[in-house]
């Protein structure tokens, strides 16, 4: 399990878990699960284009993620445009399917991009992943106080001059960066489960924000490590354990709360 070829996988898992744990905690706090589901999924055509052109998927994911941030931020200022968002999302997904149908491994690539391939991480991509992950964590932590205040008392935050719209944009950018880290490893569909499951359990551990955030990261690390280990032992896909384990974390959190 700790053979040389697995070391890159463990390193990637570590980066993904820390990023998802931190950003996910803010997602749960701010009730942003819709954005956290749509943003990673919307990067699917970016990853598909990267596969078709033979470049690193993270680059395509990051590009589409940032475009998605602008779109969601702009649409979100006009209320909750569910229909527009849902139709944009299916159009992006269908385009990604079209791009992948031009490659010679259509089904395998669809599977890898939607559900992840943790063993496919190369050492060369670890540096970029670490950089994007650090960016996402730094962005979220820099906004710790304004994001917290904006979630609990939006009026007070505005009165204190905390420019909620600007922080909302920064927060969405943090989700997009976290997606760039996580999508190549756990897939466009399951990135969401890894962000939200551990965080919804972490908030039940303590009422103090800093402690709950630390708990959320610790649970994400445990979930990721457990998923990789089980995946190694059973040969089953890592996303299966991440998705079901994330739901288990949420159920545990609900029971504790």
């Amino acid at each position: 399990m700790f053979a040389a070829f697995m070391l890159d996988t463990w390193a990637a898992g570590l980066i993904v878990a820390i990023t998802a744990g931190v950003v996910g905690w803010f997602v749960v706090l701010r009730g942003a699960s819709f954005a956290a589901h749509v943003l990673p999924l919307g990067t699917f055509p970016g990853a598909a284009a990267a596969v078709l052109l033979g470049i690193a998927p993270s680059a395509g994911v990051a590009g589409f993620g940032l475009a998605g941030v602008v779109a969601i931020w702009a649409l979100g200022r006009r209320g909750r445009p569910e229909v527009a968002t849902a139709l944009t999302l299916v159009m992006l997904l269908a385009t990604g399917a079209l791009l992948l149908s031009w490659t010679d491994r259509y089904a395998a690539q669809v599977y890898a991009l939607l559900f992840g391939q943790v063993l496919g991480v190369s050492r060369a991509s670890l540096g970029g992943m670490a950089l994007a992950g650090a960016g996402a964590v730094a962005l979220a932590l820099a906004g710790f106080r304004p994001l917290l205040l904006g979630a609990i008392a939006p009026d007070l935050a505005a009165a204190r001059g905390a420019r909620p719209a600007a922080w909302e944009f920064g927060f969405l950018a943090a989700i997009a960066l976290a997606a760039a880290v996580a999508v190549p490893v756990v897939g466009a569909l399951l990135t969401f489960a890894l962000m939200v499951g551990p965080a919804s359990c972490g908030r039940a551990v303590s009422a103090r924000p800093a402690v709950a955030l630390a708990a959320s990261v610790a649970i994400a690390l445990a979930l990721m490590a457990g998923s990789i280990a089980l995946s190694y032992l059973t040969n089953w896909p890592v996303g299966c354990f991440a998705g079901l384990g994330g739901a288990g974390c949420y159920a545990l959190g609900r029971a504790l709360l």
């Binding site: 139709l87 395998a108 939200v196 079901l244 384990g245």
Partner: protein
């Protein structure tokens, strides 16, 4: 239903199944959009993929798998939902995550155990020309059942969408009707997933319905227009995909483009067109 249905070629089967799926999805979709449940519909579509994958693994009818899993997901969401909207979104999302975890597992087992290498693209993005002819009759029966249920639910649902309190005071059992709607929604999503794939089912459910609501002035008009747009986009998509076998665009030589891509593109175009028409009318 004559025996001739079973003698259809791949294109005929695709036309028949997509017709049933488009009509049901459009009718159910109008009420889904009115009640602001687009996200729930999208989540049920994704979850139904796990059922489609399991059906391939165990050798049962794909439609049964899609519909059963969507029904299970609807029940889990109804049970897990909290009071606050943010909490309900979170609970739906977590059910979605668990369903997708199962989908990942079943698709992996499809590829390794039963040698169904194309399972991931077939289940998630649809493969309309590969639907077996035996699916036409079950799909038609499902469609008839869903439309009959919607006929009974239409009035109370419209009342609830306008004003839940008024509906309750008129003797509508809001929770029961809501749950029945979720069940019919699962049926519609299962049919749509069979036709355009699990992650794209939202397109047939939401797109034609929203376009119908934009362009028509009355509710029956919106339902009729939505059904027409859904069928038009599906059949147009099938025709374009059939044509695309002759195109030499794209990498990897000549082969058809995915049907679902054309269907989704036509649906989105119709939605944009309906918006334009409504704006020009003022």
């Amino acid at each position: 239903m004559s025996a001739g249905w079973f003698a259809l070629g791949p294109v005929g089967v695709a036309l028949a199944v997509s017709f049933a799926a488009a009509v049901v999805a459009a009718v159910v979709g109008v009420f889904t959009v009115l009640r602001g449940q687009a996200f729930a519909g999208h989540a049920l579509g994704d979850i139904s993929g796990a059922g489609g994958a399991a059906a391939l693994l165990f050798g049962i009818r794909p439609l049964a798998g899609f519909v059963a899993m969507a029904l299970g997901g609807a029940a889990a969401m109804a049970l897990a939902g909290g009071r606050r909207i943010a909490e309900r979104d979170l609970a739906s999302g977590v059910v979605l995550g668990a369903g997708l975890g199962l989908a990942a597992l079943f698709l992996y087992l499809d590829a390794t155990m039963s040698g169904a290498g194309g399972a991931a693209s077939t289940v998630m993005f649809g493969s309309m020309f590969a639907i077996p002819p035996g699916m036409v009759l079950p799909a038609a029966l499902c469609a008839v059942a869903a439309l009959a249920a919607m006929a009974a639910l239409a009035r109370p649902l419209a009342l609830i969408a306008v004003d839940p309190d008024l509906a309750a005071s008129r003797g509508v059992r809001v929770r029961l009707v809501g749950f029945a709607h979720l069940a019919v929604l699962a049926l519609a999503v299962g049919l749509a997933a069979m036709s355009v794939g699990a992650v794209l089912a939202t397109a047939l459910l939401i797109g034609p319905a929203a376009a119908g609501l934009r362009a028509a002035r009355t509710l029956p008009g919106a339902v009729a227009l939505a059904a027409a747009i859904g069928v038009g986009a599906s059949w147009g998509g099938i025709g374009l995909a059939y044509e695309s076998y002759g195109w030499s665009l794209g990498w990897g030589g000549r082969h058809g483009w995915p049907v679902s891509f054309f269907v989704v593109a036509l649906v989105v175009a119709a939605h944009a067109g309906a918006g334009l028409a409504a704006r020009m009318r003022g």
